[in-house]
């Protein structure tokens, strides 16, 4: 990592400023060669801001502010310069090309953050949460990403790890000092403590559902038989609620996607094909796919036409998605549904007039809050990768209990506990192999 890397750190498009980031041992001399101002970046001892111009030979290129930061207290832990150019793509691109000409190379995706990790500035969990901060779609999502970035999960995992090692060392006392009059810790007590740790980890695992929803959005398909007004409702929700601009492409062309921010919960609305029994082969495939999507949903919005009596297909859908939200649409046309429980449960809406939308909003919000509660101060598990490691650790701890209870082979229990601790170390990156790192950091955008 002796080479110096550079990239444009701001998104493409017109804006007030763009930033070119440079990091590495030659970051400062490199920028010094193309910068003219009252002072040279080389003169900055710790950190400072310089005003001046970037030059290509004798040609002025852009008027800039330089943020010069010396190692080790920088984002990457290396010398860094951030060049704040005028907005727009051309100025930044020109400056970047000059930086590249004078000794830097183009950074790979996530390379700045990877360097921060490799330089010991942040652990792996925190490095990964940087990505979550960048990608956060809503306030709640941002909140848990920031919390993780500040180290909440790292601290939690490290504490658990210490406790496991502590338990292993209690066993070691029994093994290494059999004749000394150190009273051995009763096996039951150790088993109880291991069980306590397992429980805490199981609880932590449960938070992953919540963080996933906050990161990837709650999947909320709008379903129902054809012509009940699903698309109108879909469009109404997108129009009336806070929409999220997302670059995540839809996964299937049969299903329309739209994102809304529902009080901090990112919600991915799906407008699915109408569900009905069909002879047509192609349509049947579409329906099957819609059903599949709907079954994977977090919360289902089942739309019924209030102006007609219920059909058999309606009843089947009500049975299938019994825990979904029932929407009685087209109330502007009058209500002809007779079933009392449906009338009670259903939310009366008119996609045409917008009537009942507030109630739908609050019911949906309550459902989201119940299913995915976010308590302040809670530690969230934010990556599937962590679940694998935690599952392995729990597996080891269960084995340890087994060994302690059945055989009293403390050395094997100790081996299992140590393995469990190793698995937890994988989470924070105390133990890493190169492949894992490459994979993690390749997810990042260039410039981060």
């Amino acid at each position: 990592m002796k080479d110096t890397i550079a990239a444009i750190g701001t998104p493409v498009g017109e804006g007030a400023i763009s930033i070119v980031r440079v990091s590495g041992r030659d970051a400062i001399p490199c920028v010094s060669r193309i910068f003219r101002g009252k002072k040279s970046p080389e003169d900055i001892r710790k950190s400072g801001i310089l005003y001046g111009w970037i030059y290509e030979g004798e040609e002025p290129v852009d008027e800039v502010l330089l943020f010069v930061m010396r190692a080790p207290h920088t984002y990457t832990g290396e010398d860094m310069v951030e060049i704040s150019t005028h907005g727009g793509y051309m100025a930044a691109r020109k400056v970047l090309s000059l930086v590249l000409k004078y000794g830097a190379r183009l950074a790979k995706p996530g390379e700045f953050t990877m360097r921060a990790f490799l330089n010991g500035r942040i652990d792996l969990v925190r490095a990964e949460s940087v990505l979550d901060v960048i990608r956060a779609k809503t306030e709640k999502g941002l909140k848990i990403a920031e919390q993780t970035l500040r180290g909440s999960l790292t601290v939690f995992i490290n504490k658990i790890k210490e406790r496991i090692i502590e338990l292993a060392s209690l066993l070691e006392v029994n093994l290494d000092f059999p004749e000394e009059d150190i009273p051995p810790t009763p096996i039951d007590e150790i088993v109880e403590k291991i069980n306590g740790i397992i429980e805490e980890l199981e609880n932590l695992k449960k938070t992953y559902r919540v963080s996933r929803v906050l990161r990837e959005g709650a999947i909320v398909p709008i379903t129902g038989r054809p012509n009940v007004g699903k698309s109108s409702l879909f469009n109404l929700l997108l129009r009336e609620e806070k929409a999220i601009v997302t670059s995540v492409p839809g996964t299937t062309r049969d299903v329309l996607e739209g994102w809304i921010d529902l009080d901090g919960y990112p919600v991915k609305l799906l407008d699915t094909a109408g569900i009905r029994k069909s002879e047509d082969f192609v349509e049947r495939i579409g329906v099957e796919r819609a059903m599949e999507k709907t079954r994977e949903a977090d919360i289902v919005l089942l739309v019924l036409d209030a102006s007609e009596t219920l059909t058999d297909e309606d009843r089947e859908l009500i049975k299938e998605f019994s825990d979904g939200i029932i929407i009685l649409n087209k109330i502007d046309l009058g209500i002809r549904i007779k079933d009392r429980d449906i009338l009670e449960k259903g939310i009366r809406v008119s996609a045409l007039t917008g009537e009942g939308l507030d109630e739908l909003h609050s019911v949906l919000q309550k459902k989201l809050e119940d299913a995915f509660p976010v308590h302040s101060g809670e530690v969230f598990l934010t990556r599937e990768r962590y679940i694998h490691s935690i599952d392995s650790a729990i597996g080891n701890m269960k084995k340890a209990i087994e060994k302690l209870k059945e055989t009293g082979l403390e050395e094997l229990a100790s081996f299992e506990l140590n393995s469990a601790a190793q698995h937890l170390k994988e989470i924070t990156g105390e133990i890493t192999d190169e492949d894992v790192l490459e994979k993690i950091f390749s997810e990042y955008c260039i410039g981060k």
């Binding site: 990592m1 832990g77 010991g120 070691e172 093994l175 290494d176 000394e180 009293g408 050395e411 990156g429």
Partner: protein, 605 residues
Amino acid sequence: MKQYDVIVVGAGHAGIEAALAAKRMGASVLVLTIHLDMIGHMPCNPAVGGIAKSHLVFEIDALGGEIGFATDKTGIQFKMLNRKKGPSVWSLRAQVDRADYRSYMKKKIMESVDVKQGEVVEILTEGEKVIGVKTKTGTEYYSKTVILTTGTFMQGLVHIGMVRFSAGRLGEPPSTGLSDSLKKLGFELGRLKTGTSARADGRTIDFSKMEIQPGDENPEHFSHRTVEFNPPQIPCYLTHTTPETHEIIRKNIALAPLYAGVIKGIGPRYCPSLEDKVMKFPERGKHHVFVEPDGRDTNEYYLNGVSSSLPEEIQLKFMRTIPGLEQVEFLRPGYAIEYDFVFPTQLRHSLETKKIQGLFLAGQINGTSGYEEAAAQGIMAGINAVLKIRGEEPFVLRRDEAYIGVLIDDLVTRGTKEPYRMFTSRAEYRLILRQDNADERLARYGVKYGLVDKTLLEKVEERRKRVDELLKKMKRIVVSPGKINISKPASLFHILKMPEFHFEDIYKFLDEEVPHDVAFRVEIEAKYDGYIQRAIAHAKKLKEMERVKIPEDIDYSKIRTITMEAREKLSRERPETLGEASRISGVSPSDIFALYVYIKRKEEE
């Protein structure tokens, strides 16, 4: 003047193994000792082995060392500790006849190598190479290599209460010039403390008030060379301190040199004096006291667990509050001793010093405690001194190969601040580093370097074959529930894996004679099934790391991606492989990863 291949300074447990190993490899060896009659003396308790230490003894034995064989010959009681736990932590311990052991070792050394009594005061060097040593009387001896095994002798200072005097051990002169000579050569020295307890007159002990601690009924032995083995199994006795004992100690604590601030050296945390136990664990009402016979032809008893450096009369006073010791008379008082040691991070894994070529250090001089730890370093230093002369690659055992590897690696990469004692928990590959497979792990090295007879390796390989065949056979034979107490049909292997079954239970289904040493290993491997494989898989990862060599000319100051602290440590310790680097304290995994990336990139360039 005769030029030796190897000069060994000191004839304790490290010195003996060093000298004999070098001799076995064909080197000419001179041993210089401060006291000719004290070769192989055990200044603390008269016992060899014990938890993790026995592992070292078995390993030394597989490398042709003497400690195991001498213990078998002169032992008076053998006992397997930790029997109730898994086989990886079983540890053999022997009470030894102290005088017999000494005379066995003296004879062995005298018939094997040249020995002279003399106090070495100076290391002779030429440039950065050792060329010999000089004694206090001015005689110079020349050699290609020198192994220092000075034990507690360098600047030794004995404390008994407020009385203190220079001594190497109680009753023996200290070594006074050598520390300065080492300092002049640029070595950094530190100070440690250790202690031992009083020896009681057996005629004044009331054994009827103590619990008898017999040896094993069918005792096992240490050495593969031992053929006839019939130890007398003389018992030890167990008693305990009382609240009165503790009270006396508390009252007189100001007279303990450690607590009075007189002792500057750091003592062993794991082998504390009774003063330490009483002050640090005030809630404990009593501590064990093992009363161990010193030998067959003596009335001397070692009082294990009550080492003390309080004034002699206080020692006697508190000792007489212990059941069975009410009338006790001392033959020698307990004492503490401070001595110089060399920070072992100044050594290579071969135990050669980094600064002076051909100079090796082994034993307590490297900050360890224990006869077995000393012997382990001794044999490795002896072997490596000869390899050095031959210009061959040093013999270094990895952490997954031997406790010896763990011991030396810990010392030279992490260093130590207190007397280092071996524990099974220090060995991360404990499950595969057992006493019972020490020969399987190390005999091939013993044979390779000409330290043991080829037949040992043949024997080991034959046994391995037998074990493997039996394990295979046991997986094939399935037994139904009626024949043995199981709930559904299972293979013999599976049955043996269950905690409640032992080899005796399934023996009848095998329909063949199985010797004890095979049966015993079959059971271990069945019980540890899965774990051994996992441990080996772990070890493989380590091997990969160990294999990444760090270029000798690496300039850490140029690797900016490594933290300042790690850069400093790495520049100072100059590890040879990435594995070593990873064990240096202050070097984090991310430093290692950065270093790895740096080395890889360098290679690609």
